[in-house]
Symmetry: C2
Subunit: 494 residues, 2 copies
Amino acid sequence: MFESAEIGHEVSKKTYREQEPALRQALLEAQYRLLEQAHFPVVILVNGVDGAGKGETVNLLNEWMDPRHIRTEGFGPASPEETERPTLWRFWRALPPKGRIGILFGSWYTEPILSRVLGRAKRAAFQHELERIRHFERMLVAEGTLVIKLWFHLSHPAQKKRLESLEKDPHTRWRVTPEDWKRYRHYEEFVSVCEGALRETSTGEAPWHVVDGSEPRYRSLFVGRLILDALTRRLNGPPPAVSPPPPPPTPPIDGRDVLNTLDYSLRLPRVRYEKRLEREQARLNQLTRDPRMRNRSLAIVFEGMDAAGKGSTIRRITQALDARFYRVIPVAAPTDEERAQPYLWRFWRHLPRRGHAVIFDRSWYGRVLVERVEGFCSEADWMRGYPEINDFEEQLAEAGVIVAKFWLAITPEEQLRRFREREETPHKQFKITPDDWRNREKWPAYERAVSDMVARTSTDIARWEVIAAEDKLHGRIDVLERLNRLVGRALDAG
Amino acid sequence: MFESAEIGHEVSKKTYREQEPALRQALLEAQYRLLEQAHFPVVILVNGVDGAGKGETVNLLNEWMDPRHIRTEGFGPASPEETERPTLWRFWRALPPKGRIGILFGSWYTEPILSRVLGRAKRAAFQHELERIRHFERMLVAEGTLVIKLWFHLSHPAQKKRLESLEKDPHTRWRVTPEDWKRYRHYEEFVSVCEGALRETSTGEAPWHVVDGSEPRYRSLFVGRLILDALTRRLNGPPPAVSPPPPPPTPPIDGRDVLNTLDYSLRLPRVRYEKRLEREQARLNQLTRDPRMRNRSLAIVFEGMDAAGKGSTIRRITQALDARFYRVIPVAAPTDEERAQPYLWRFWRHLPRRGHAVIFDRSWYGRVLVERVEGFCSEADWMRGYPEINDFEEQLAEAGVIVAKFWLAITPEEQLRRFREREETPHKQFKITPDDWRNREKWPAYERAVSDMVARTSTDIARWEVIAAEDKLHGRIDVLERLNRLVGRALDAG
């Protein structure tokens, strides 16, 4: 993989002087076309061997292009705020919006590779990380992002020479750290791990480009042209095809699904409700104050047809909680900052810190519900939504987030009754809009979408709890009981 | 100040049961009117004596109203991310957008008061903090925010009774900490400091409301009504008048100002430019790698007429820097998330961490330049902009941020020459827009705005450097030299 980067490429001063101005000019123009179109973001990953010119290249790109529209992020060890979230959180935060270029100096590859080289991560864990990265990058590309992955290579002797020459010059001495020499001594293991990582993550949609880092002029022209080509191709054409998702699920032959087989006759009398409500709320309060909760966090998702009782159920939960413990995120139309990012970005930004809870009133499942039914995204988009969502929730779970998902189910008849009631009650009229009546006409399409959603995203990690909410009182208690059971078990499991 | 909160208010169970439902209903309706109008945000501060029912009230408000549209933030000790920024940074981050309610449990008062009670802050420092808070709240109100400040009071014996009864009940025992008892012992000092603080910050636009915390039913109805009244009044009418700013500055009688008295004939030959550029860039690079820089950060502001050379000057600076050290923020139209916040919010969000730099290509000075000249805001708005900006920069400076501000000055003739050049150069055409020609017609108005800006915001803390940029080469070197001098002195001064 690295052989062709060790044969010793070189570019003469003369050639460089001849070619550099035009390249620079073309890059700047491409950058401005990108900015004006604002159709997609560009992510450039800068990784590789120490001393191979990563830092110089990052600076050069900022010099060649307009640095005002480039967001350069260097990643060192994670900050406390970052370690309290899934590992990809800080990279999501650093993603450039459409029209901009993000240069990630060090990236989502750095930590997994180092952990593996230093023996902190087992082979299986490493493979798992690489698979996660493949999914992440595939999602980025499918969302339109141009991903350019640069690997700066240097042979072992060349690295030694380079580090020594940097150390000799008083102006550059600061750039060589004891860490660099330590990694130099681990060169063989490092390169071997990297080679595997590159091979397994060099996908059709986001391939690696190995850069010979030994000679600055060659390296600079090579990288410049590579970026220019990729940018020009993408500006003039569609994004690379991501392998197509499977065809949409066929509906069950017998017409039975999780919704129409639910027992909607379950009722809970008011007196028993009050008692159980008090008990379950006390239990929930206790659980959230459990010392073991300090290392966990909680993401609760509510979905359901209009008027299914999401708001009132959420209030029964929040009544039991310390107001500092939780935040409710009502999910409506995205803001323009959110629209300039991949679909899941607006949910990543709200992820709870340790010891905290976030309650989503509607959620990332909009992708496979309203967006699917209303045709706001293509079939390919919502079909890839299922694995993307499963990935997302897996990352939450691995970071210690307890994920609870509730579908509040009611019948169309009950919905109609509630709509009418809302219309007739002065202080509830604001809750009913023409949209609600329109959505109601699409009930069968929604029902099918819900059924597919449960089939594809109810996982061991984050199971869907389908609640018969025809009777509000029964529904609320059922939610609280299941939530308590889930949280209790998660805390016991450690 | 607290006497009337100690006379023992009480509400019977019967009265509470009669009044609570209507109050609750009215609050919910007001909240929805707020949400639909989305004209202003509401900030509710919850402060006061331990055990006076602050937490219960926060929970109650979340229960009475729709918690999905309330953002509750509890403030404990500052996180590392927060301590690296000015103290108000974390409160800016917690401000609710227009249409929403933010409940701040603990607020910008907590830390200054505690520091004073524990003797960590001297009287003068405390007074300074209070003045800062007055300015901050006045700005919030002037920007349209409804600020409701609640102070929960309890007499010393009542506090003792309350803490003991909380400790007796196993369900509430967790809420009493050793800290609470420690503060109980300091009750007299605490209340005395608080009384002074309340007196000095009970302004016409953001008065304090003292709540008798001894009896829950009275307390709840009192707070509920108070919020309902404030909300209703504001929904039906204009914000309270903030004392009017002074009249706009009169132009100098002799017509001389900082711009027209500048020597535009300064020139630097290319050969000398190259040499000095290299020297100054090396010096800047050294300064940013100085170990003392790790505890400081750097905010560089560039303003100037169109085509004054901001972009190319910024590039000469960034060429000298490690790409991980800085970020360039080009300031254009605000996003919708920014529009839903006070004017300065969009700049606060970009403040650098320690050891980092942010370069603003245009800045918060837009308020007193383009917004003034184009009439995007009222005269009162841009007039209050001057002290608001000075406050902002003072906070930056106190947090260790080195603030450098450059006005790049050119003559109208030179601008015309550069516009024409841009039009004639293919790869520069994207840089010239009809807006540029329109702005040009308003040159005299801009010149007056610049002159006022320099007169009012060139302070000891953050001086304006007015640069003769008629000759680009001279301008760039002048900027670099002054920047180096400024940073060098700041590091020497510690």
